[in-house]
């Protein structure tokens, strides 16, 4: 088991397959803390069970999914939640773009890199961790970033959360939290026990009272990045 620093938490992760081995490297910690906040691993049995349930997954896929699920479920206990989104770090703030798979989250944040150059970095391309600390919501890179290893060991205050859909023109509008509640609950890991579900909803309640939310219709032109940045900055 190796120790990592993820989302300002000490996380012990036991892994043996290539994806986790590679993606955890930049989160390794040499500290010797008295308390490890979260410990996650995928037992051989749990990997085999998951492979039986989803025959097209490899053991490597399963280890990635099981450890990720363990981490993000525990994150709820630390005033956090996962938001399935591609998040971009720009000028000291994090912008989260969420949508169903295949809508174009990553395509949109890649447009930010084209539009704003090296100053815009992908914080986590698929599953940033969000934590509320001292009244501020922060987004963090993690080892779980989807098919690509597009994640950095960094964090920034969340400037806005944006739900995107494809459009012919680019248009962004700020919306009331009630309008995106169903969407955001679809894009997180929902615990099955009552205590953690309550904690998740309480974290979400606090998050939505401090961070503005948006809906973006966008195409794949460079203008899309300018429109979403101007709308959220």
């Amino acid at each position: 088991m190796k120790l990592h620093r993820i989302a300002d938490l000490y996380v012990g992760i036991d892994f043996k397959y290539p994806t986790m081995t590679a993606q955890t490297v930049k989160f390794l910690s040499d500290d010797r803390p008295e308390i490890v906040d979260i410990v996650v691993w995928a037992s051989d049995e749990s990997i085999q069970n998951t492979m039986k349930k989803y025959p097209n997954l490899t053991a490597d896929n399963c280890e990635y999914l099981i450890t990720g699920s363990g981490f993000y479920n525990s994150l709820i206990d630390f005033d956090g939640l996962m938001i399935h989104s591609s998040s971009v770090l720009y000028k000291g703030a994090a912008y989260l773009f969420s949508a169903d798979p295949g809508t174009g989250k990553s395509t949109h944040t890649q447009l930010w890199k084209k539009a704003f150059g090296d100053e815009a970095e992908i914080l986590n391309d698929d599953k940033p961790a969000v934590r509320i600390i001292d009244g501020t919501a922060y987004a963090y890179g993690t080892p779980w970033s989807g098919k690509t290893d597009l994640s950095i060991n960094a964090c920034a205050p969340v400037k806005g959360i944006c739900f995107l859909e494809r459009g012919t023109a680019n248009e962004i509008k700020r919306v009331e939290p009630g309008e995106i509640l169903k969407d955001i609950l679809k894009q997180t890991i929902r615990p099955s026990d009552e205590q953690r579900m309550d904690k998740l909803l309480s974290n979400l309640d606090r998050l939505l009272r401090m961070v503005p939310v948006y809906r973006l219709k966008c195409n794949m032109e460079l203008e899309a990045a300018h429109v979403s940045f101007e709308g959220m900055k």
Binding site: P177, L181, K182, L185, K186, S192, E194, L201, D205, L208
Partner: protein, 87 residues
């Protein structure tokens, strides 16, 4: 008539929602949004109240006539029945 176990009514950012936990969450992975009166009726149903009692409670809580309160109650219960949230 009662709310099926495994469903929670909670308020998030000023909005009422219903989510499932435990075994129910395997079959129901969605979110139901509920308005203020619906949330009021839900809480009464959870406490085991009958429709007539709920109508009376609405009359003492909200500024509506009996006909509207009865209609709201019947509509909401029908909505829950259709969603299979009652036992």
């Amino acid at each position: 008539m009662k709310i099926k176990p495994g469903y929670l009514l909670r308020e998030v950012a000023g909005n009422y929602i219903v989510v499932a936990i435990g075994e129910e969450a395997v079959d129901f992975n969605g979110v139901i949004t509920v308005n203020d009166v619906g949330a009021f009726i839900w809480k009464k149903l959870e406490a085991g109240a009958e429709p007539e009692e709920i109508v009376k409670a609405i009359l003492s809580e909200y500024d509506v006539d009996e006909k509207a309160a009865a209609a709201d109650t019947a509509d909401f219960i029908e909505k829950l029945r259709k969603a299979e949230l009652l036992v």
